[in-house]
Amino acid sequence: MSDLENFREETKSWLEANCPEEMRKPVRDDSDVYWGGRKATFQNDAQKAWFEAARDKGYTVPSWPKEYGGAGLSPAEAKILRQEMAAIGARPPLSSFGIWMLGPALLKFGTEGQKKRFLNEIARGEIRWCQGYSEPGSGSDLVSMQTYGEDKGDHWVVNGQKIWTSYADKADWIFCLVRTNKEDKYKGITFMLFDMAGEGVTTKPILLISGNSPFCETFFDNVKVPKSYGDDCPGFVGEINRGWDVAKYLLGHEREMISGMGGGDRTTAIGTAMKRHAAKTGDDIDPVLRSEMALFDVDALAFTAMAEKFMDEMKAGKGHPAQPNMMKYVGTEINKRRHELMMSAGGSRSLEWESDETRGGKPSREWLRTKANSIEGGTSEVMLNVISKRILELPGG
């Protein structure tokens, strides 16, 4: 048996022994997700057991190096672990913006001291991070942001406001873009790291059309941010005034992540599930709706192939570096279409806002949530701008 086949067998038995039955059921809503952090509580014993087993094995962040809390898996091994987890329907043991966003930024730009401290905290689920990027006046034109950090020698004093800070009210720390030089738009931003429990930080959840509040407004009123947290552990990532480099890298990373939603992991046709569902409720699917679904399934299944090709090319260092923008654009537009069709197929039932039958209005709330897909992390229109300039090399702007 090859090393990889051995690894697959070991992984199967490890999952069998360590992933409880309850953790192999689909995630129903956010309460099924374990986010970690200082305020975290476990939903049940199974969630706790699964998280702790994964943490001890380095499987909360399988491909990170061992010294930073990961398992040091190679890309091929990480793919096998993903496949075997998918095969039994295992939930992610830990979800966090630390894993998805800050971690990759620190792996690329962080000092050894930052990696040792912050990556280990993330991998062990001890600190929950949130992201401070957008401001009320700076959405698509993010670089115009004005939250300001005044240099006070060994620290900054930060004043300003962020918006669309995901789960800021539940987070422990924030990675935050702060202007440190008003003269230079691009080279005047610092990527700071600081504790949300510090004095002067307040958060206010934003009620969305879905009735949920995953985002906050975050206010900074004379917040003291140290330039150093100790030996080789600065309070910022990369260089002072060069935070835009880190932010751009992370935005690219975020687009890749979001782009997976359109169909990267879906191989079943929408019509199949909808027809089954309609049959149960005694409804049927109008022929024209069926046609729309069929055309949608062509697009969605073709995009599944695109997602696979994109991943394969990324791993091999092929493909255009701006390709994630295309993936993000198409993936999010497809996801919105999917939910429009699901609403139509569900009829009036899918309008129910609070009923037990819809598990608290899941269809309509999710449908409304998808409308943000093509706004957050760069709007579809910004993605099209980037494609036309960087890939097609069209002039101007």
Partner: protein, 379 residues
């Protein structure tokens, strides 16, 4: 297997792209033959050259004298054919007919494959009997007659039928018109008595025949595969042809898109290059995305077909439908963004529009295949 070309495949792509840009380009082939009112619609000289390049027998098994390559490789050649709008018998002869002959007796293989590999012979396939692709319905009858069969009925839109040395004909040997079983495939030589062809020119300058069989006598050894068991071979032939047509369509889309993007960078209006206008940039960027996805679906379908995976059938229809939509968008945006000159015969963009229309229809259009995706998915 990763969804990109291996080193060998990338080398093949390089040589195919160089060769077809040089020898198969629009002026040398499509316009040349069209403007001379050529009754074949393609050049036999190029077909010989394609044989010398090793293209004609790519899908023929090594034991049968071919190269034993797969649909990824055939697709590489087809994409370049599409990009250059090269008229040739490659798709019908080297993909469709070659797939059918792969299931034939050694006698039939010996009779037809050497001519194909040498670029001497041209083959066609006769499946449809109406203007729309409906392979589920085969009414043309082949009745037992002595040691052989007697063929009666008609076939429509047989691409390059009148130029072909042999036509693979799907006929009914038992059951009723819509039955799944009871189909037999025949290798019908061009000069048989009782077969009459009425060739018509299509919008893309290619030639298609309406063929009538009036009691055509065929030997028993003209049967490809098993009597009454032709559906399986027919399906294999259709899958190969559809994936091939998708690959050619990706080339058509890419060719039209490249021309259009170039034009956006040159044409000036209101004192600006029109590619600076965001109204056009966003449409171009959307088009780029659609073409990329169509290409990904096509290579996925090619790989699945080469692996013999059960899901190849579904992905083949996904690819055929997606390519039809993406290439259709590419040529429509192409003509519109070229403005007035896009409507002139002098500019090539209109030729892309014509070829796309014919190719999209061939072996089932986007609606046929979207419907098939729904049916294969159980709804």
């Amino acid at each position: 297997m990763p969804l990109y070309h291996t080193e060998d495949q990338a080398m093949l792509a390089d040589s195919a792209s160089g060769f077809l840009a040089e020898e198969g380009n629009i002026n040398k082939q499509l316009r040349h033959w069209r403007d001379r009112d050529c009754k074949d619609g393609f050049g036999h000289g190029l077909w010989k050259q394609m044989a010398e390049m090793g293209f004609t027998g790519m899908l023929v098994a090594e034991d049968d004298g071919g190269l034993g390559m797969g649909h990824v490789e055939a697709g590489i050649v087809l994409e370049e054919i599409g990009r250059n709008l090269t008229p040739s018998p490659f798709l019908t002869s080297s993909v469709l007919a070659a797939t059918a002959l792969g299931h034939a007796s050694s006698d039939l293989k010996g009779r037809y494959l050497p001519g194909l590999i040498e670029g001497e012979s041209v083959f066609a396939v006769a499946i449809d009997e109406t203007a729309k692709h409906r392979p589920s319905r085969i009414a043309t009858k082949a009745e037992k007659s002595g040691n052989g069969f007697k063929l009666t009925g008609s076939k429509s839109f047989v691409i390059q039928g009148a130029s072909s040395d042999m036509i693979v004909v799907a006929a009914r040997t038992s059951g009723s018109d819509e039955d799944e079983h009871g189909i037999t495939l025949f290798a019908v030589p061009k000069d048989v008595n009782g077969m009459s062809q009425n060739p018509v020119r299509l919008v893309d300058s290619s030639m298609a025949s309406h063929i009538t069989f009036d009691g055509v006598e065929l030997d028993g050894d003209a049967v490809i595969g098993e009597v009454d068991g032709g559906r399986e071979v027919l399906n294999a032939m259709l899958a190969a042809g559809r994936v091939g047509a998708a690959a050619e369509g990706v080339g058509v889309a890419q060719g039209a898109m490249d021309m259009t993007i170039d034009y956006l960078k040159q044409r000036k209006q209101f004192g600006k290059v029109i590619g600076e206008f965001q109204a056009l940039q966003h449409r171009a960027a959307h088009l780029y995305s659609e073409v990329e996805i169509a290409r990904a679906a096509t290579i996925k379908a090619q790989q699945l077909l080469d692996e013999g995976a059960p899901s190849a059938d579904l992905m083949t229809s996904v690819a055929k439908a997606k390519v039809a939509k993406a290439a259709g968008l590419a040529v429509k945006e192409g003509v519109q963004m070229h403005g007035g000159i896009g409507m002139t015969d002098e500019y090539d963009i209109g030729l892309y529009m014509k070829r796309d229309r014919a190719l999209a229809e061939f072996l089932g259009d986007a609606y046929f295949h979207a419907n098939r995706v729904a049916e294969l998915s159980g709804y």
